[in-house]
């Protein structure tokens, strides 16, 4: 059972790390701020989410697991709202009046 859990953890964390890679590459290589923003949110949602999922399998107890999920949800909420705000300042025409 522990072996299966460990295997799932490794799988999920690797997938999460891949999305972090994708997000960072996007941040560095995409041509304009708005497309970079799109790449960034992948790291936020999926990268952190998959890593949290992987760590959930190792978590000791319900409270620890809930805290991990809570961290992810917070990052999700903040990331989504901040992206909207950043996009507004990064619009080609500047922020709406």
């Amino acid at each position: 059972m522990t072996l299966a859990l460990d295997g799932l953890t490794i799988l999920a964390v690797c997938a999460g790390a891949f999305f972090f890679l994708a997000g960072t590459v996007g941040l560095l290589r995409f041509p304009d701020p708005l497309s970079r923003l799109h790449a960034l949110t992948k790291a936020d949602n999926l990268g952190l989410g998959l890593i949290v999922l992987g760590l959930l399998f190792q978590a000791g107890g319900l409270l620890a697991a809930l805290k991990l999920i809570g961290v992810w949800l917070l990052a999700l909420l903040a990331g989504a709202s901040i992206s909207q705000l950043i996009a507004r300042t990064a619009r080609p025409g500047g922020p709406p009046a």
């Binding site: 917070l74 909420l77 903040a78 909207q84 507004r88």
Partner: protein, 312 residues
């Protein structure tokens, strides 16, 4: 090992870049990045209490404070004559001073005898007498409570210093610029969801400080950040600094601390001495007002000097 080296190189790189950055905004972003990375370092050397404080104050609140200062400086810099920039001699002297201080600190750490002198076993041995389970909180609130008392007083003095920067016409007025409510509602949505969660997290971090890493400074910083968020979103108006209830909240922490400290003369024969049976209760009685005071003080420190007159 690879992790440690990578982290150290990263921290140094960000520090160098922050000092070399050309405009204030870029430097502040670098400074916040530096604070976040330092929190990682503290966790790596198994000092989670310091990591909590670094992430909260070093990474968050100080960054926003510097941002506000940079914004105010920009207005001043536009009118300052160009010849007032510091000369290269002064910059060189500042650099040399930093190098000497860093070299001195590094020498002290590297030349420590093996094993390094420490009071940690002594502190851990007397933990039961304080009623706490977290040795860091025991040091802050019991063994060296006088330092914590003086810190709260210093914070209050800093706030008075910032308030004294207000122009005559708006003395006692509202701190900071007016923030308009976001027309699209994104910021409003974020703060309405985030602030209650943040307040709960702040109270949680404060409460578990007696048994696990945490404590009043970290919890207070989170509460301050949530109040500032609500102010920045335009959902809450900053209170005029002349309000009595505000000033009461600001001083209740240091005053309670001082009162219990003086009561220590009567109870156990020394300033800030707690009788063993009541130690935990007294520490809690100190911690709650101190958390409120520090939260209010930090939030007002970041909000800045009064800029708008209050409406009568």
């Amino acid at each position: 090992m690879v992790f440690d080296i990578g982290l150290a190189v990263l921290v140094l790189g960000v520090a160098v870049w922050t000092t070399a950055a050309r405009d204030a905004f870029a430097a502040v972003v670098g400074f916040v990045a530096y604070g976040l990375l330092l929190a990682l370092v503290w966790v790596r050397i198994a000092a989670p209490d310091v990591a909590l404080t670094e992430a909260a104050i070093g990474g968050g609140v100080t960054g926003v404070l510097l941002l506000g200062a940079g914004t105010r400086l920009r207005a001043i810099e536009a009118t300052a004559p160009a010849g007032e920039k510091p000369g290269s001699g002064l910059q060189l002297a500042a650099g040399m001073l930093c190098v000497f201080v860093t070299g001195g600190l590094a020498a002290i750490v590297l030349l420590l005898p093996e094993p390094a002198p420490t009071l940690a076993p002594l502190a851990a041995a007397h933990l039961a007498g304080t009623g706490l389970d977290n040795p860091v909180t025991a040091v802050l609130m019991a063994y060296r409570a006088i330092d914590t008392l003086l810190e709260t007083v210093v914070l209050a003095l800093a706030l008075i210093g910032i308030w004294s920067l207000a122009p005559d016409g708006v003395w006692g007025g509202l701190p900071g610029p007016r923030h308009h409510i976001d027309s699209d509602g994104v910021l409003t949505f974020l703060v309405q969801l985030l602030a209650p969660v943040g307040i709960l997290v702040g109270i949680h971090i404060f409460w578990i400080g007696s048994v696990a890493p945490g404590g009043e400074f970290q919890g207070a910083t989170i509460l301050a950040a949530m109040w500032l968020l609500a102010m920045m979103a335009g959902l809450v108006e900053a209170p005029p600094v002349s309000r009595r209830w505000l000033r009461l909240v600001l001083v209740i922490g240091p005053l309670t601390f001082l009162a219990i400290g003086l009561a220590g003369f009567g109870m156990s024969g020394a300033f800030l001495a707690y009788p063993e049976a009541y130690a935990k209760l007294l520490i809690l009685t100190i911690e709650v007002p101190v958390t409120l005071s520090i939260a209010a003080t930090l939030a007002l420190l970041v909000a800045g000097p009064p800029e708008r007159a209050q409406q009568r």
